[in-house]
């Protein structure tokens, strides 16, 4: 996938929506974000991946001014993240990981509150339009706390884009949402990006990562890799063999202990064996290939293979 060059003319150098360098954040002794640099082009959908507790949420909070970085600098929408956090807040829509609208307010009251907060002109009309778009016009009086997970998420998104932000920060927006609602949500994200909105979204789901123009992987506060999905896979230097046939569980157990084999994972009737050295993988698998019950083929590693590989490596670095 390629990054669209924003809505401006191709000739002009695109202004990055997010351009931060060397962000550091500590909570007490704990280094939560370690020297993270991110650049997101205007109009791009940028996926932010990493295991739980890796610093994704903290990084997003640093970007929208909810936290002050201990070190590092940069701009968000051309505004300094240290000095202009107030101005950034006006132009950014931030959707928190946990539903953070008021459950004891109705759907319409929540939207109305947001509209007042941003001092939007023609408040009522905009709230009505947002309700219409959401398909919640006839349930406007329903309390937000009574909504299901999927509807809560849609309400949160509607509230976050009510003030026409230029940058959308979404922190694991689809956690606990069913697949259909997730797909609809991502369709909406792509529509918004097509209109020139920049989106930074953190997620655990690999299928979602693959819908991003560009991704970054963060583990234990450190940015491990970033770039378009295929480039991230290519740069990982990872080789994968897909083994199919009989007795895969036994094969998996035996091969995992071999040198040069980093990961072995069973996917239904197939076995993914990955490592940095292709020849070593073949050597490890060779004893199992002779009897004709199994065959191994070379395949491109999946994004998941790459991430597990990165995660293993980062744990090694960390300990």
């Amino acid at each position: 996938m390629t990054v669209p060059s924003g809505s401006g003319s191709p000739a002009a150098a695109p202004v990055a929506a997010i351009d931060v360098r060397g962000l550091v954040k500590r909570f007490g002794d704990k280094l939560v974000v370690n020297n993270v640099s991110i650049r997101v082009e205007t109009g791009a959908i940028y996926g932010f991946l990493g295991p739980n507790g890796s610093g994704k949420t903290t990084t997003i909070r640093l970007l929208c001014g909810l936290l002050t970085p201990d070190a590092g600098e940069g701009t968000c929408l051309g505004l300094d993240i240290r000095r202009d956090s107030a101005a950034i807040k006006r132009q950014v829509g931030y959707m928190t990981q946990k539903f953070s609208f008021w459950e004891d307010l109705s759907i319409a009251e929540n939207l109305d509150f947001v509209a007042r907060m941003y001092g939007l002109p023609q408040r009522r009309r905009r709230v009505d339009e947002a309700l219409e778009r959401l398909g919640l016009a006839n349930r406007r009086r329903q309390l937000a706390g009574e909504l299901s997970g999927g509807w809560k998420q849609r309400l949160a998104l509607a509230a976050c884009i009510l003030h026409d932000p230029k940058l959308l920060l979404l922190d694991e927006p689809t956690a606990g949402v069913d697949p259909k609602a997730r797909r609809e949500f991502w369709d909406e994200i792509h529509r918004l990006a097509a209109d020139g909105l920049t989106v930074l979204v953190s997620t655990h789901y690999m299928d979602e990562a693959e819908r991003c123009h560009e991704i970054a992987y963060i583990a234990y506060g450190t940015l491990m890799t970033h770039g378009p999905v295929d480039r991230v896979i290519a740069q990982s230097g990872l080789h994968t063999r897909v083994v199919s046939g009989h007795d895969l569980a036994r094969v998996a157990e035996a091969v995992a202990a071999q040198t040069g084999v980093e990961m072995v994972a069973v996917f239904g009737s197939r076995l993914h064996v990955s490592g940095l050295d292709g020849a070593a993988l073949d050597a490890a698998l060779a004893p199992w290939m002779g009897d004709g019950n199994r065959q191994a083929t070379e395949a491109a590693p999946t994004l998941e293979d790459v991430f597990i590989h990165l995660m293993n490596r980062s744990t090694d670095n960390f300990q």
């Binding site: 936290l67 928190t96 953070s100 004891d104 509150f113 907060m117």
Partner: protein
Amino acid sequence: MIGRFSFGRLLAVMVKELIQMRRDRLTFAMMVGVPILQLVLFGFAINADPKRLPTAMLVADPSPFSRSLTAALVNSGYFDLRHTTTDPGDIDRMLATGQVQFAITIPVGFSRDLQRAERPTMLVEADATDPAATSNALSALAVIARQALNADLVGPLAGLRAGPDPIDLRVHRRYNPDGITQYNVVPGLMGVVLSMTMVMMTALAVTRERERGTMENLLAMPVRPFEVMLGKIVPFIGVGYVQVVLIVAAARLLFGVPIMGSLWLLSAVLVVFIAANLAVGFTFSTLAKNQLQAMQMSFFFFLPSVLLSGFMFPFRGMPGWAQAVGELLPLTHFLRIVRGILLKGNGLPEIAGEMLPLLAFLAVVTVLALRRYRQTLD
């Protein structure tokens, strides 16, 4: 920062708080329930001048004198003659079990000794484990005894009558001539109810935002701390006034408490007092991690307020250090003001001395609250 103060954003916070308050049945019940409950408890139940206390009598020498004394004791209203006995053992038992508060013994030969001017003994035993319950009755006793016998000491006995006091002592119990406890308690309740509910409700309202995760959302919006604080406080000032109206109405209609001063002046003072308590609650909410902690802090503030402000116990009866702590509490000053306005008819010049500490408290706590309230999650 986020530019100038915006009335729109303040309004947004206020509207939101009002809606949430309306939907929160428990808070709503507390708003009205606490004043009513306290009025009933303190207004009807507490009496610093208890009457009709159970009394036992042992009359070993029945005579016109002992009958007069008995009648006078009962007529004073303090003593309720429940038992008469002839066995001193009964007296000890009844006092020990708490059946009676007083036991009065008129010994053998009482009338004979009286007529011989030999100053006979009349023994009054009181259960003084609760001094407050017995002290008024005991201080009334001497007068009762003297006056009761004066009527019987006629003819040749007239010489035994008590002579007039060397001085003519006059006591004016000003502002509350009948010493009615409610006059003191009910206006004071206004301050106590406000201290309790206002601190707790704001502390909870803000902590709730943090606990439910909505604070993060609020912080991500372009709103100034002052707008959040004011927006959360103003609706509760309204709640405070509802409580005040309830209490003032009850004071006047139910307890007949006189309203000597200006209710307008009282309303003006109330804004300051309510705001001071709300600011305390807001400050607590910036310190508390959850609603339970906020609740605990509120009680930590409420208890000394009730105990050291002069609401429960006479302020001047407390040791110096306790008075010093009391002087720091807004309730102490508010009690003096509200009693001054309602009972004494005080005007602005008389209450100015108590207003200053109240205003100073408000200013200090507001600054503290705004400094503690963070615009970030750090």
